[in-house]
Each structure stands twice: as C-alpha cells, then as structure tokens.
Symmetry: C2
Subunit: 429 residues, 2 copies
C-alpha cells in the first residue's frame, strides 16, 4: 500500500536531471524503503528543444513554470533553477498555494529565507533545503534538529569545493593560482566564469545559512563579509606549512559575546585541525558546542549525484509531512540578535611584508603595529638587503585595528609592499 | 507564546542527570530557539536516597517507574535506564499509552526494535533513538532521513570509544592491552567490568542499528557476529603500521549481493582511510553510496553531555510532532532481506604464525592455504630458526575458507602457533 505524491520540478540542469532520472529509475526501491509512491508530474525547463538524458515517463516536460505550481496533481515542488528573484517568486507562489517546497538554492535561502520560512509556516507546509549547503553532506537537518538543544558556539566550514581543489593544488604541487584554476576548469570543478566560487560569494551564502541555523539569529547573505582566494600565492602557502598551518577558504559562523558573526576568507589553520586535511573538492563542516564537543561532517560538497541525494531526502521528508497532514515545524525560529560588524571581530593576521633590510626597520614596523594597538606574536625574516621579507603574525586584535596597523605600516619608508595578508585561526590568543 | 510539553525521564545516571539539569538550566534558551516549553514532570530513579547533582524544580523524583507512564501531565517519555527487559516493557507501555518515547538504549533498539517501532506506528507517536549510536554525533537522522533515497552500500563505524582509546594507546605508545585497559579505566573511559566494550558486544548493537537503517532490512543484535580486542598485541599493531595499516575495532554493515551483513571485529584498515586517523575515544562513521560517494561523521561517541545533546534533539523533534498532532512516520520501514552468514562473507586475513624455520616449511604452509582454496597475497618472514615468524596476508576468500585454512595449518609440523589473526579491509581483492 503506497501513498502517491505528485512532484513538480523547476529546472533540469545537472542536479535536476539527475534527480528526475533517479525518481524514475529508483521508483520501486524508494517505494519499498519509504512507502512512498513518488511521481514526477511536471518538469519545467527553459528550452524544450534541448536534448536531455532523462525521460519523464509519467509526466510532461513544459516551459510554463507556473503550470508546475498550478497543476492540481502536483503535491510538492522542487526548485532547482537557482537565482533569487524568479526562483523566489515561484517558491513563494508554491508555498502560498499550500505546496511544500524543496530547494538546493543557497542564494535564495540566504537572501529570502525568513520570508519563505514565514510563508511555509502560514500555509502549514514544509520548506526544506538540505542540499543548499554541503551538497550530499547531511548538515542542515543535524544542525537544525539534532543540535536544536545545543548552544553551538562556532561552525567552521570548507563549503566550496572549487576553491578547496585550487588551494590543495597550490599547497601540494606549488601551482600558482592561475594554473590551479585552469586545471579546475578543465576537470569541471570550476565554471568558465569562476567568480562566484573564487570570490567567496558562494561560500558566503552557505555561511549565512549555517550561522542562521546554528544560532537561531537570522544572518542574511549581504551581512556576510567575504574575501576570495585569487590573491593567494604559493609562497604564502609554503610559509604557512613551515609554520604548521594549512591555508583554506573557510566560512566561519561564531558567537562573539552576545552577538554573532559570519564571514568567509582565507584562513591559516593549524595542520592538526581536522579541516586542514580536507583535500580536493571535498567539503567539511566542523561544529563546536559546549556539550557536544567537536563534530566533523565531510563528503562531496557538490555534483549532481550527491546533491540529488540530499534533495531526495528532503522530498521524502516533505512527502511524509504532506501525508500526515501536518507541518512538524516551525523547524526554524529566529530570535533577534546582534550581528557583530567585521571590523569588531577579533582576528589574528599573518602578513608578508617586502622591506629594505636596513638598521631600524624592525623598530619602525613594530611601532606601526604598536600605534594601532596590535601586538606582534612572531617576526621571521627571509632574505637580506632589498630582497628581504618579513613574515609577521599578530596576536588577536579587532579587525579594524589590524587594518589600522596596515595604514601605519604604509607610512614606514623601508616598507616596499604589503605583499599578502591571511587571517590565522588558532587556539592561542 | 510557548507550547508546554511534560516530560518524564526513566533513569537518572550520567546521561539522565545531565539531561535533566540541562532541561532545567537551559529552559529559556530552548524555548527561545524552538518555541517549546519543555518541563520535566517526573524522574524515576532506583534509589531515592542517592545524592543527585540536579534538582527537578517543577516536578518530582520517584521510584515508581509506572507513574511516569501513567501521569496525565506527561506527554513524552525519555528512557535512559538501559537493558532490554524492564526498559523495553516500560517503553512499550508508554508507546501503547500513546506517548512518544526517546531513548539512548542501543541494546533495546537492537533487540526489540521492530516490536517498538510497530507499537509507535500503531499509536501514531514517535520512537526516536539518535543517541543510541555515536553519542553526540548525528547519525540516525542523517541515515534514516537525509539518505532515505540513497541505496547505501556500506557503513563502517568506529562506534566504541573505549576500545578505540585502548587501540590508540597500543598503537602510539606500544602499550600492551592490559596496561592500556587499566589506563582507560583510570580515566573513566572503561567500566570496572569492561566486557561489553572490549568484547565488541556494545559495538555489535550499534552495528545492528546502522545496518537496519542503512539497508531497510532488520538486523537484530543477535545476528551480528562480534569479536573483541582483548587478544590483540602491540606486535601486530607495529607490523600493521609497517604494512601501511592501522588496527581498529570496526562495525561493518554492508550489502553483499542481494543480502546484507553486519559484524564487528578488529580490522587492519589502510592508513590513508579516514577511519585510520580517528584517535582516542572519538567515534566516527563512514558511509559509502553510489550517488553520495563517501561521507564521514565524527565526534564524541559517549559521555553524558554529548549524549544528552542527542537525546534533547530527539525530544524537541518528538515534541513538535506531538504539538502538530501527527506522526510524520513511518520513519523506518523494514523489508524482508537475506542476512549473509558470517562464514559466507568474503574476508581477507592477516596472520602471524610462529614457525620453525626449516626447509620446506613455506611449501607446507602454502599447501594448507591452497587446500582450503585461499590464495596468499604476501608472506613476510621475521627472525630465524625457532624464533621465526611468518606474517601472511591472504587474498579475499569466504570467511569459512579462511578458517578451514587455519585447520589445515595446524596440521603442519613446523607450525608452533597461530599467534594472531586480524581481518584486512582494503580496496584490492
């Protein structure tokens, strides 16, 4: 005895195509395991003439997106189009029509989450987005359900596989950024226009979602400071390794005092930290809480097949709620909370300075830091004369003070260039 | 606006005490995050006179366990007594009375799961047990919900922290089993009677649950072959490391052809496998599926605080269902499936043989393997004369054939002792 759920899919790219194929091919296996008869009724695509590697045996392909929402045979809508405007309006329409929605769209959730969650709550239907962060890694449900009673302190995530692939190549093969990016593009890990990935914008949307769920305080996409990897050099990765660190692009969500902070930037992280050994396109999310200690989740962060698995898990969950005739929500409830501006966040900086090696230079440089109220943890000189490098690691200070130190530094005559800056995450102050 | 849920707790040991203290201390924070007013109404203990480090501000301590089930103010029962008989009867009574149950009792779930799941389904209430496997690591919900649409192929778990602590000490400090166990007992990682942990019985209950959820075929506690760590020697751990392996006690759940197998035994696992680097009392679960690839979950596998976090997540989930007036189950549905007897499971063996090193010995030993139809992958000789050791690794063969090879081996004159046997997990056949 199976219960039929009609499914409408908006968008049939990599994830959508894989999902539809699996819903058709694995129909019997899913029914045996879950008791659900999941039927794809409509798949909305932009261009009906494009060749597809799936067939909708029991439904129709359409270019009329609203028909997916209006079709009375469709009980559940899956949004895999991407983007925040059109996709968001369709999702909103579906929720307002009383249809549960499953999406993998991180940008949509991170920008219009509260509006869509509220609409779902008003209609008493599910709005699920396990696939929006970490691809196939279960992280949304663990964070919002299993850890609902844990006052999570910090979430660190390698949540963009493209940049982690590039950084792994740079660290292990001494490749420069451009070559590593070109290789990632050849292998299909990076888009022809890689901006969203390498700028940290993709990771920022995921960090916003992780922070919102971890702390129960809404953090929107535009609230997340982000900085990309395109200015990183293999030279700094080699120095980092000498000092016992790996360089990773990390989304950080943390409680600071009574407030919360979410940001994305390259981080020097100790080699013995579990995130330091996450290689290639793999994603990983590290959660710290006072009771639960340290949890690590890792797996494939992108790709059609893993992402479709996460979407499918949400579909099954939403279908069960639909059949039970109840929303077991609010799954997510946001309380007001302060967001700490990035300038007020305590950070530690690694800096590579190109200097003229002459008497008194170090005193002037130390003075610049001192004027900004930043204390220096270590100084390391490489080379001599006009080829000299100073590698400086600071103690923890407000981000704005670190930036002020750089302004003072630029006034030092012997300083030729602030060649690079990478923030450091470590246990010490 | 909060919705009140009365909670009754059966058992107030380490986990129960921590849970009750958190429900009281973090009442306001949980209410803000979840909208739930969770109130502990009754805590049933064996001995009322024992001192406690929590107080039940709004409820009563009782030694009448049935009063927890009968109290009309109690909407949800938490079972933290342990054991399968009395605990199981109380859980069954609660479910039959229409009260959702949350438990951390792996033995109960692994032995009476289908009976209790069926009772929960009849009453339309939740029966949740996230804390039964992996302590604070979210694994039950990811496996049964997020991965509900994934045809999982294999689950490998380090699911017993005591034994992993002991094995880490043996591997890293060359400690022998007895000393490492004594240290684990001193540090509170091992019980005064460590049998359940070191025999693999505890891990077997967890492997049964993982297999049941991963494959949707019921595997009971008594169906799981288990073998402990008490016969392992640091000598073998050192040889394993030389060959590129770590020795871990691993619960294995895998599909074999059309059937499933669940078992627990020491395993030599390649050093580059993610489970090889799981140290100390940490637990980790590694999941392989055709779409999702490889997922790793790690964290604290035991202890009052992490386990209480998992129990609390289930309480919040069950409370939401109660308030929604619906069971969004069946979360778990079992189909008939064949269990492969351990003798038919393909395994690879490492063996340390004490032999007299004289001409023709190797031919006789090779003959013994050949007679059993087992082929040898590698032979390594250590020492000479009457001190000689042969380290043999076989190719994959049925477990029963490997055992038959040992019987033939024992007939070889020059063989003085089969000093140890450890199964090998690797990608090669």
């Amino acid at each position: 005895m199976h219960s039929t759920i009609g499914i409408g899919v908006l968008g049939a790219g990599t994830v959508g195509g894989t999902l539809v194929a699996r819903l058709v091919d694995e129909h019997a296996a899913i029914a045996a395991k879950t008791g659900l008869d999941l039927r794809v009724k409509r798949v909305a695509v932009r261009d009906l003439d494009k060749p597809r590697d799936f067939t909708v045996t029991d439904g129709v392909l359409t270019d009329d997106r609203m028909s997916v929402i209006d079709d009375p045979d469709i009980d559940l809508v899956v949004e895999l189009m991407g983007g925040r405007d059109l996709a968001g309006d369709l999702v909103l329409a579906a929720l307002e029509a009383g249809k549960p929605v499953v999406t993998a769209n991180k940008e949509l959730v991170a920008s219009r989450g509260p509006e869509l969650i509220a609409a779902a709550e008003r209609s008493g239907v599910a709005f699920l987005f396990e696939a929006a962060v970490g691809g196939g890694i279960p992280i949304i449900r663990p964070l919002s359900e299993t850890l609902a009673g844990e006052p999570v302190e910090r979430v660190l995530g390698i949540v963009n596989g493209t940049t982690n692939f590039i950084l792994t190549r740079m660290a292990e093969d001494n490749a420069d950024y451009g070559d590593a990016l070109a290789e990632a593009q050849e292998l299909g890990y990076a888009e022809p226009d890689p901006t969203a990935d390498v700028s940290g914008a993709d990771a920022a949307a995921k960090a916003a979602i992780l922070a919102s769920l971890a702390f129960g305080t809404w953090v929107g996409l535009d609230d997340v400071y982000h900085e990309g990897i395109d200015s990183l050099s293999p030279v700094d990765m080699a120095f980092a390794a000498d000092f016992g660190y790996a360089v990773k692009l990390i989304g950080i969500a943390e409680r600071i005092g009574e407030g919360v902070s979410a940001r994305v930037h390259p981080v020097m992280i100790p080699l013995n930290h579990p995130l330091a050994s996450i290689r290639g396109a793999t994603n990983a999310i590290f959660i710290e809480g006072p009771s639960v200690g340290e949890l690590l989740f890792s797996g494939p962060g992108a790709g059609g097949a893993p992402t479709a698995t996460a979407v499918l898990g949400d579909i099954i969950d939403a279908a069960r709620e639909t059949l039970a005739g109840a929303q077991v929500a609010p799954r997510i409830r946001f309380s007001p909370g302060d967001q700490i501006p990035f300038g007020d966040v305590p950070t530690k900086w690694y800096m590579r300075l190109e200097v003229d090696d002459r008497p008194g230079v170090l005193a002037q440089i130390a003075g610049a830091f001192g004027n900004a109220g930043v204390s220096i943890k270590s100084v390391w000189q490489e080379g001599e004369g006009s080829e000299a490098l100073l590698l400086i690691v600071t103690h923890s200070a407000r981000e704005s003070a670190q930036r002020e130190a750089v302004r003072y530094l630029r006034e030092v005559d012997a300083l030729r260039n602030v060649a690079s800056v990478i923030r450091v995450e470590s246990e010490e102050a």
